[in-house]
Symmetry: C2
Amino acid sequence: MFQKNGHNHGRCIISAMKIATDLCAERGVRLTALRSHVLELIWQSHQPVGAYELLDILKSERRNAQPPTIYRALNFLLNLGLIHRIESLNAYVGCDTPHTNHNTQFLICSGCGAAAEISDVRLDKAINALAKDAKFSVKHRSIEVEGQCPNCQVS
Amino acid sequence: MFQKNGHNHGRCIISAMKIATDLCAERGVRLTALRSHVLELIWQSHQPVGAYELLDILKSERRNAQPPTIYRALNFLLNLGLIHRIESLNAYVGCDTPHTNHNTQFLICSGCGAAAEISDVRLDKAINALAKDAKFSVKHRSIEVEGQCPNCQVS
DNA sequence: CTAGTTACTGTTATAATATATCAGTAATTC
DNA sequence: GAATTACTGATATATTATAACAGTAACTAG
């Protein structure tokens, strides 16, 4: 769901980082300084952010950062489910429920750019039903809905 | 829905081109030789095809074709709904129902690469419902489901 | 603890997708 | 037939992503 305009975003970041640390410990994989840093950068907002945008910020601290630097970190985080890729934007956004096996959907606001991750069971069931009708075996879903979030709607 | 393996694809092409001609006439826009040609190329199969792949084919006939050549034609066709863009593939596929105001979904086979356009009302309703819950006003949907089509499933 | 191995990062180059801009040509309109 | 609008040509460049190889850090077995 979309965050309220003045929400305490610091908490979102702290929580996300703790979830990531725990998940990596649990899985026995290394959340290196670089990966951790990239994840923090992604979590600076609820707006999906592009790889090169991240790279530019990263460069101000690691001036030798190159595209592979960022893409490796992104792929690591994607594989763990700590971030999602928004296909229609070529951008990346944090996920605060990486542990749950989520068939999620995104509502993307064209006003403020924020993306809300939804996990709607009705929708998921509808997809399963239509796939069954088509005798199609589902592997991956990319459900992205663009429009205006409550904060950005002019009434 | 997915086409059967040995279907008469010539008919798909002829039908699509007629639909396009009619639609352009109705809208008073010009289906120029270039645009018509690009549409035909897209309709050579039910597999979404990339812009540069189209460009390469186009070049064998118009050797001065450049990226803008193909992107202009694609944008024209997209605006009319004669083709769709598959975001998760950066590729384009023909639409045989451009006149209907369609909130469609795509089933994309990772085996053969074919994309089936579905217009499932349950799914559409589910999206409307979840958007309403989130007080989100929907403008555009991108629903892309990847998996195996009936023809490609190993049983 | 140290040699061997695996995982991670640095670095350079390049691939793949898409758009901006200005000039010229064809079609439509008045 | 002149003016306007729409379309195409042509060059340049922006944006997103990956390949490949070298070097370094971390882990693992003995």
